[in-house]
Amino acid sequence: MTDLVPVLIDGIIYASYLFIIAVGLTLIYGVMKILNMAHGSLYALGAYVTATLVGAWFSHGLNPYGSFALPLLAAILVGLVAGPIIERGLLRFMYGNDEIVLILVTYALLLILEDLIKLVWGVESYSAYQPYGLLGTFEVAGLPYTKYDAILVGVAVSVGVALTWGLARTRQGKLLLAVIHDREVSAAMGINVQRVYLVTFTIGTILAALAGALIAPKVSVVPAMGVEVIVLAFAVVVIGGLGSLPGAALGALIVGLVGSAAVHYLPQVELFSIYLVMALVLIFRPKGLFSAAEARKI
């Protein structure tokens, strides 16, 4: 009795998670042309900080509902500290290098961050489970789902809407779009590209950490969680089209729904369904589903 409703709901919950991970990655790529492999480590950092905060919150016996603010706090904390340090301290020396070299720079960063996290938190698992079960469950088609997962969907939608609005309607956003479109001309027009980069990378870091922070209550925070997630995020972003916001949303939905359908109907192919989708999409749409037409520069 596998009807379609649970497949859709499971798929959408999974897609929301994927979207929050992927959106920061695609934003940074869109503006800075860096496919940030350390994104996964920043995600893990968000999860670890959340676990620590939630642990402290409950050991002090504070109002449990207040703990819902902690993931957001952790994300902003990680973003505002790690973002500028990485961008100002490392990445700015690397601009102008080949895209592949930039990937390797962030790969090196990933290796360093993984061990740094290990030095701070050790290899033991952490959990921040309290918020996850706090709100209880609701039923759809006879199956219980947690309300926390519903919040996750809500956050994903809000992040998507906020970013779309921010890019289209605010001055900062328009500056960003200008830089995405043509960095050199933007700089010539007097846009402070350096600052745009700093802001973009910080926002991207906050989003990465937010994904980890939101997921922390439903998983066990362990080493290697960031490495596991990075290829997943890559796949989503590549399927949707690198640097495209609606692309990330569509990519997340496709991967989420395909993954969920595989689990329900064909558990055997679940392991590599995502790569199959990625290969198929790239074969028929070599630059992903949403790719801006590039101006040819000669």
Partner: protein, 317 residues
């Protein structure tokens, strides 16, 4: 340029030094060298791709396939005699990898930059997923392999390791020398031209896609042979050979060495294995950080790879 002309004599000198010197090395050092040589072959293929302007984050596909092909042939098709041969196995691995490279090349030759990297990554991960599913091949645990002969000659126990070492040294020499010649051929010289400006290559009357395709196949064959060698040296294969981190490591080594010379990937591979082993020994809790910092230092201070040290000295001399 005089510096470049010295490559072939230098390579054959290195071959002699490694062949004779290896005899006196302890077993663990010989194994480390075989591993470095095998992986060096994969990176050699990457060098060719990078010169063509392409970086593959999926060479693990061919590396793994090369390792599995030979062994599966002996396991499933039952050619125990032929397929327990230290020479036949890597070569067969190379052939199988080359055939898949030929097929996938029709598709991948249309891709560039990050999309090429990602699509090749996707293919390697699909192989990884398939192998995990195949319990007949041991799933994620993989299985053990062994070799008994070299080119049909039965190997006594005390000679097995050195025979494999000598074989890998010889294969690396042949591969580097041939690639060096190839890079100087008409087709080989088109590689950097494709990287710099595809339109010009097309206007000159050459097919960009053909150049990319050929180079892609060569890289696949090299990765297949390398995978076969590593499999023999380790005595065990498993799907991790196709995992994306394995491919990432090859790109790491390629950047470490630079693309200045065909010897660079092999030297970088040697250095990398050695750094990694030393880091494991002296920093068992922070070896990843050691690798990360090494990579950053190379990118920052030697953007053209370690080979640029030699080049600079050659220029200054």
């Amino acid at each position: 340029m005089t510096a470049a002309d010295r490559t072939l004599p230098a390579l054959s000198l290195a071959l002699q030094v490694f062949l004779i010197g290896g005899w006196f090395l302890p077993d663990w050092a010989q194994s480390l060298l075989i591993l470095a040589f095998g992986k060096g072959l994969v990176v050699l293929g990457l060098l060719l791709l990078i010169r063509t302007g392409l970086v593959s984050f999926g060479q693990g596909l061919y590396y793994c396939l090369g390792a599995y092909a030979a062994v599966s042939a002996s396991k499933i098709l039952a050619f125990p005699d032929l397929m327990s041969d230290a020479l036949a196995m890597p070569l067969f691995g190379g052939v199988v990898a080359g055939v898949l490279g030929l097929v996938l090349g029709f598709l991948l030759a249309r891709y560039r930059a990050i999309f090429f990297a990602m699509l090749s990554l996707a293919f390697s991960m699909i192989l990884y997923g398939l192998l995990i599913k195949m319990s007949v091949l041991g799933s994620s645990d993989g299985f053990n392999i062994d070799y008994r002969t070299l080119a049909g000659i039965k190997l006594p126990d005390g000679m097995k390791l050195y025979a494999l070492y000598a074989l890998s040294t010889l294969l690396v020499f042949i591969a580097t020398a041939c690639l060096h010649r190839y890079l100087r051929s008409h087709l080989g010289r088109l590689a950097p031209a494709v990287r710099d400006n595809e339109l010009r290559v097309e206007y000159m009357g050459s097919s960009v896609r053909y150049v990319v395709h050929v180079n892609y196949i060569i890289a696949a064959v090299l990765a297949g042979v390398g995978g076969g060698l590593v499999a023999l040296s380790i005595g065990h294969i498993d799907p991790d050979l196709a995992y994306w981190t394995t491919s990432g490591e090859f790109v790491f080594v390629a950047v470490l060495g630079g693309t200045g010379n065909v010897a660079a990937p092999v030297l970088a591979s040697l250095l990398f294995e050695w750094i990694k082993s030393a880091a494991y020994q002296y920093a068992p809790y922070t070896w990843q950080m050691v690798l990360g910092i090494t990579l950053l230092l190379v990118i920052m201070f030697l953007p053209a790879g370690l080979w640029s040290i030699f080049q600079r000295r050659a220029r200054e001399a």
